[in-house]
């Protein structure tokens, strides 16, 4: 469907805006915020691709990606806090 392709193009454009902050973030936390925003957009892209290709298995990939991105952000944040406390 043309609607889905237009939505995918719009999301890709916003992903490039996030990539700017990922490359030039002053602190490491700016990069974490940008990476988490990009993973949110990736979840939506995979879910829309499932309807574009008529493959329901992509929705399971979307669920798994949501859980993994949440765990990754929590892991990085806990790692940085623990690193500061041990110094």
């Amino acid at each position: 469907m043309n609607l889905f392709i237009a939505v995918l193009l719009g999301i890709s454009f916003t992903t490039f805006l996030c990539l700017y902050r990922l490359f030039t973030g002053p602190t490491v936390f700016d990069r974490i915020v940008a990476a988490s925003a990009i993973t949110t957009k990736t979840i939506v892209v995979v879910a829309v691709l499932a309807f574009l290709y008529n493959q329901d298995i992509y929705l399971d990939i979307s669920i798994t990606y949501a859980i993994l991105s949440f765990l990754a952000v929590l892991g990085v944040a806990a790692y940085i806090v623990k690193q500061k406390e041990t110094k």
Binding site: V33, A37, T40, L74
Partner: protein, 114 residues
Amino acid sequence: MTLLINILTAILMFSGVFFFLAGSIALIRFPDVYTRLHATTKLDTLGLGLILAGLIVYDGFSLASVKLLFVIFFMFLTSPTAAHAIARAAYKSGVKLWGENPIDRYGESQNDNS
């Protein structure tokens, strides 16, 4: 009926893309880690909810809709948690708040207790 469903899907999905765009512009333009986090967490969660709601309206009542509802529920639950973890880690690593005289209730409460 099909035309009505298509129009509703288009409205929901394009408003979701609009919220994604606003969140990305905020990520570029805002001056601070905390303000960027504040903007992107809420706008990205709302954009995801709107686009997946558009997909649910397009598909009707099926197993795929249940999976999409689960994704929306899970993101509404985990996105604020992740944002809170990032903000806490940034504060503990000593990232300064933006502005001349920032209001820092968290630091004041820490000083009162100790």
